[in-house]
């Protein structure tokens, strides 16, 4: 039995279709990522899984149970960290954990949770006084307080500084180490690449791809690979462009940027070696999930995507 099963999920709000047709399965023990641009329907999907929304069509099962009809039993096994959810400003950290623990039939030990999520020193601090990172740690601790078998983490690291983000990633790995299935909603490629066993890319309310991060990255290889270096001696553009693996050459001051297919790095380094030219400060841009993501989800007029700008300004080779 899959931990989470979503079949032909559909949800509309008035005229807007938030989710058009989403299906995927998450196996037990997996870290499964949902990636997608803002407004793609990620949060609505998660809300249907959590039982906050009733789907208009399709089915959602958590460990075989319907979150809409079997509210209590699903919530006993499903831990959720939600966007835009809060605690009362004046509740203390320990009070919050004890309160939520009391709702579950087999809760986790609050003292242990405090220690595990590095909140022991903050046990008597009020929620309103916590930092962003501390609030996120408490949110994950609260998701874990019922000893769940499945945990949903919705944009866990949005708004965190890089250091806190890395800590959050370690938290997710800790959660999985405890044998819990994780559904991770994110718009950070790096996060999905680092944590997820499999990723579903959702765009405009539909699943456009489900694969391992490596599999998806390979899918993005239409965009090819890219290398950047400072040659120890002048190299003619034509020489490089003569290689069948190379699609474009650009110059940025003393640096050369060469793009091509998946064999381009080997071909260029071999050519340079033959001419006894050293490629100093060589940087290779690996095909990443980023490329796959952009290839799969880009549509015209969509300039404000959630992706960061790791792309260079070369002309596209596709």
């Amino acid at each position: 039995m899959p931990a989470i099963e979503v079949r032909n999920l559909k949800k509309t709000y008035g005229d807007t279709t938030a989710v058009a047709d989403v299906s995927f399965e998450v196996g037990e023990g997996e870290i499964f990522g949902i990636l997608g641009p803002n407004g793609a329907g990620k949060t609505t999907t998660v809300e249907c899984i959590s039982g906050l929304r009733t789907p208009d069509a399709g089915a959602v099962r958590v460990l075989g149970l319907d979150p809409g009809l079997d509210r209590e039993n699903v919530r006993q096994v499903l831990g959720v960290q939600l966007q835009e959810s809060q605690l009362p400003a004046k509740i203390q950290v320990r009070e919050a954990l004890e309160l939520y623990a009391s709702f579950y039939r087999e809760p986790a030990d609050v003292g242990r949770l405090l220690a595990q999520w590095e909140l022991t020193e903050k046990a008597t601090a009020r929620f309103g006084k916590l930092s962003g990172g501390q609030k996120q740690r408490l949110a994950v601790a609260l998701a874990m307080v019922g000893n769940p078998r499945v945990v949903v983490l919705d944009e866990l690291t949005t708004g965190l500084d890089p250091h806190a983000r890395r800590t959050a990633w370690e938290m997710v790995e800790q959660v999985r180490a405890a044998g819990v299935t994780v559904l991770l909603v994110t718009h950070f490629m790096e996060e999905a690449e680092r944590l997820c066993d499999r990723v579903a890319i959702i765009d405009a309310g539909r699943v456009v791809a489900v694969d391992t991060p490596a599999g998806l990255a390979a899918y993005g290889s239409a965009a090819g690979q890219r290398m950047r270096f400072r040659p120890s001696a002048p190299v003619q553009d034509a020489l490089l462009l003569a290689l069948p693996e190379v699609s474009s050459v650009e110059r940025h001051g003393a640096y050369l940027e060469v793009a091509g297919n998946s064999e381009v790095i080997g071909a260029v380094t071999a050519l340079l070696a033959r001419r006894q030219i050293i490629a100093a400060e060589l940087r290779v841009e690996q095909n990443s999930l980023d490329d796959a993501f952009i290839a799969l989800t880009s549509h015209p007029g969509d300039s404000d995507g959630p992706h960061h700008t790791s792309r260079t300004t070369s002309e596209e080779s596709r």
Binding site: G51, G64, D70, E72, R75, I91, F103
Partner: protein, 259 residues
């Protein structure tokens, strides 16, 4: 595959751990204590009024028009009830709307706590506050200023308890739906004023047209006051109050909005 019979329920979900309910009551009581402004008017106003009425000498003199009772005697039950009215239509809906507006209820919605449990816990805290205030009002009136207790304390107590639950159930219905503190106030305050009106606070019931007088027996605060004044059958008024309590509370748990 799932063993439960999956049919849409008419009755709301009630299942919750006993420890969960107790912890919820304790936590909500603590939070209310840390945010005292929300219940302050419901406590301070009735207490202040009974003291003001108590120190006015004329209100302590028996009056023939009141059947030998003093003005203070008549107002002790009114002020005792006031805390319930105020908290039911202000503190209760506003505190819920505030939690809803801030996304606190959204987080609770994905935990196993049922809406009914959440409402019941908050009502327990609010009702305890109102009851303590009522007790203080009676104590100050009787011990402090020598007011005499009504002839039928059992009936008074019954009308107080059922009256409070009826008012709170109405307040719960507003609490269940109001999306923001502003909306909660916009619905709570007029409902409260309507209750005051039919209880004869603004215009004496005796001088109202018959239609309105009869209607007042079907408005919670009106039914309470009618029970006290002995107009109409007491059991009928108590039945009306019990009806509000049951229907209002069930409806609130059923239509409860988590966000």
């Amino acid at each position: 595959m799932s063993a439960t019979t999956a049919s849409p329920r008419l009755l709301p979900e009630f299942r919750m751990t006993g420890n969960g309910f107790r912890t919820l009551v304790r936590t909500q009581a603590r939070l209310l204590r840390r945010e005292p402004a929300i219940v302050l008017s419901g406590i301070a106003l009735p207490v202040a009024l009974i003291i003001v009425f108590g120190v006015i000498p004329a209100f302590g003199k028996p009056s023939a028009s009141l059947g030998g009772k003093t003005t203070l005697d008549v107002y002790v039950p009114t002020f005792a009830m006031l805390s319930s009215v105020l908290t039911a239509f202000t503190a209760l809906p506003v505190s819920f709307a505030d939690l809803r507006e801030r996304g606190v209820l959204r987080r609770l919605a994905v935990s196993p706590v049922p809406a009914a449990g959440l409402l019941a816990a908050q009502v327990t805290v609010i009702a305890a506050t109102a009851a303590a205030t009522a007790a203080a009002v009676v104590l100050i009136g009787v011990v402090g200023f020598g007011a005499t207790l009504p002839a039928n304390p059992a009936l008074m107590l019954a009308s107080y308890v059922l009256g409070t639950t009826a008012l709170l159930a109405l307040g719960l219905l507003i609490s269940a739906l109001a999306p923001s503190a502003g909306v909660a106030t916009a619905f709570g305050v007029p409902t409260m004023i309507l209750n005051f009106f039919f209880a004869g606070v603004y215009v004496p019931l005796q001088s109202m047209p018959h239609v309105l007088r009869d209607l007042s027996g079907f408005v919670p605060y009106g039914a309470i006051v009618d029970t006290w004044s002995g107009s109409g059958a007491a059991w009928q008024h108590l039945a009306v109050l019990a009806g509000y309590t049951v229907v209002g509370a069930l409806a609130a748990a059923r239509v409860f909005k988590w966000e």
